[in-house]
Amino acid sequence: MPQTPIKSEYDDKFGSPEQQETIEKITKSEYKWGFTTDIDTDLAPKGLNEDIVRFISAKKEEPEWLLEWRLKAFRQWQKMVEPKWPNVKYPEIDFQDAYYYAAPKQQKQLESLEEVDPKLRETFDKLGISITEQKRLTGVAVDAVMDSVSVATTFQKELQKHGIIFGSFSEAVKNHPELVRKYLGSVVPYTDNFYAALNSAVFSDGSFCYIPKGVRCPMELSTYFRINAANTGQFERTLIVAEEGAYVSYLEGCTAPMRDENQLHAAVVEIFVHDNAEVKYSTVQNWYPGDENGKGGVYNFVTKRAITHENAKVSWTQVETGSAITWKYPSVILKGDNSIGEFYSVALTNNYQQADTGTKMMHLGKNTRSTIISKGISAGKSQNSYRGLVRVGKNAENARNFSQCDSLLIGDKCGAHTFPYLEIKNSSAQVEHEATTSKIGEDQIFYLLQRGISEEDAINMIVNGYCKEVFRELPMEFAVEAQKLLAVSLEGSVG
């Protein structure tokens, strides 16, 4: 039975918000992935109460223990308040004015990809997701999640050969209830924070991944999340377990259609890494950021956490270009001796986007090491904050941390903020923190212009160069996609 990690009481005091600059108007850059698919959705009634929680659980034919767990989470959530410390501003969210369950209507169990609703397939094609057999030549197994229910899972057979379980969370609840029960909430308990509690109560689906002892997953595992139905919050739950000596590289990509209203997204990702195992988790997030006037966009409140045991390693790599509001701190509890945590992040904000993101590295074991490389890019009227905690417990002899937090400003109406927190309880710790803030250099741009390169390409080139240290942590195809995404997100940020 995995132990419950230290409770994250510091979640409540991560930092006080800074007064935001007054918000003005302008700039362009349209959201390329904004289209909606017309599929009958199966909606739960609006609002949130115990009946809705029961409805969701019943819809998913869940066992009693899971319903009980959800209800406990719901009751917990009712007692909690939304965190106010992030450096973001948004109108009060009315949690009763949203739908908490939306599933594409498609009851029948699918035998093959060909049976998938063609419209759904079309959506995925537009997103460029390779769920068809031919496209899978790239060696990526995709578990696509649309409005919370996993639609199709590929590469199952190959994975099964290795004893790897990879699929939707709901399937895992049905087929491997003992595993789910053992690990669910073991890294992010439902008491953790407001959004984690909310997610625990109403999560509709997500991904489950289990790598058995000593197995190196032969391919990259990929999940695409996408919000489709209007006014539905998306609450996925992802659980990854790497048994002793296992290895997996996991990719998560997200998009959402254009909508005027704000869509709520509160996901939880838990990663449990046993002795000598390694998990690489990469995210490219481009949820709809809202239009150039700050209308619409996704509110993204995510709790991601990993726990590492002896000699284990976790790396979080994220490229965040989307969402109107991002609140996200992929963290690592370095529990086992000699374990390693890494966080590589590019967060780009444009127009009226607001991001408050960073990480927490909690050193508990001896000789634990962590690295934090954060690259924030702010353009337009956006606000971009890095918030990071490095905590060294009193028994964590010889813990080491290196943090580098760089901020790049494009234009003079945006803001960059850095909130590093240190809690060192062991004097043998070595902690290094470097931070820089720079404006994109006129000299650099002119140098490239003088060589015949357009201004837009010049800026993309400089920004991509600036993010190089993070991009090289991403799998190849993902890195290419990330570069394109930055270019699209930066459109209209200059001139």
């Binding site: 250099g441 000299d443 650099q444 002119f446 140098y447 490239l448 212009l449 003088q450 060589r451 015949g452 390169i453 357009s454 201004e455 390409d457 080139m461 400089i462 991509n464 160069g465 600036y466 993010c467 190089k468 240290e469």
Partner: protein, 253 residues
């Protein structure tokens, strides 16, 4: 090639160029010399299209076009190249990627197909030899942690790849050791042709021993106060600017 007429320019309200006249014909090499702060780099930057300078009077025609109306990237695409006095570092962007993007932007402007990776590699390897640079510089970030001399060499290497019609070299010789100076000068000489012109800004006669100019101009206090042939540089080497400046001062008085 380029015809500069009565060019006046100021920065933040201070006039720096006070009526420059310069005519460069295809194939010619013009050296521009002059004391520190006389406006040499300002002239070079204005020709390249740097925005912080305000042209208050005069005109510049480049290959028949009104240069001052053109965007900096279009000037470059039309064949104007500036080897910077202080080349800029661009972290994370490889020299190769940067140059390929530049070359293909120029080619596209000319209506030519983009060069593929193989062709490009062949070209750059050839041009690296021209300035005796190691291939490892291709993968390094543009100018990052290059020594002073390596940065200057990198400028000439870029010029050799982009094959401009007019090369403006702003103190490319400063910071070079004597061997590097010869290599750079040699590279420039190989690029000399009846269709290509150069404006070479320098403080030292030494460079002009290797790149022999057709004309030498002395720029002081924003004006060209004397022009002559290659021998003028020798004269300046021996006598300095004082005499010229004084004579000019008197003439102006």
């Amino acid at each position: 090639m380029i015809s500069i007429k009565n060019l006046h320019a100021s920065v933040e309200g201070t006039e720096i160029l006070k009526g420059i006249n310069l005519e460069v014909k295809p194939g010619e090499v013009h050296a521009v010399m002059g004391p520190n702060g006389s406006g040499k780099s300002t002239l070079a930057n204005i020709l390249a299209g740097r925005e912080e300078y305000e042209v208050t009077e005069g005109s510049v025609s480049f290959l028949g076009n009104d240069l001052l109306e053109m965007a900096p990237e279009d000037r470059a695409r039309e064949g104007l190249f500036l080897a910077f006095q202080y080349p800029v570092e661009i972290p994370g962007v490889s020299n190769a990627n940067f140059l390929k993007t530049a070359l293909n932007a120029i080619r596209e402007h000319r209506g030519e197909d983009a060069m593929d990776a193989m062709e490009f590699l062949k070209l750059v390897k050839d041009r690296l030899q021209l300035v005796e640079m190691d291939q490892k510089f291709l993968q390094r970030s543009v100018n990052v942690s290059f020594s002073g001399g390596e940065k200057k060499r990198n400028e000439i290497f870029q010029m050799a790849v982009l094959e401009p019609k007019l090369g403006i070299l702003d103190e490319t010789d400063s910071g070079l050791d004597i061997d590097a100076l010869k290599i750079v000068a040699n590279g420039v000489n190989k690029l000399r042709s009846p269709e290509r012109s150069f404006i070479v800004v320098t403080h030292y006669q030494r460079l002009l021993d290797y790149i022999v100019p057709d004309f030498v101009h002395v720029l002081a206090k924003g004006k060209i106060i004397k022009s002559g042939g290659a021998e003028l540089a020798h004269y300046l080497e021996e006598n300095g600017y004082d005499e010229l400046l004084n004579a000019n001062g008197k003439a102006a008085a």
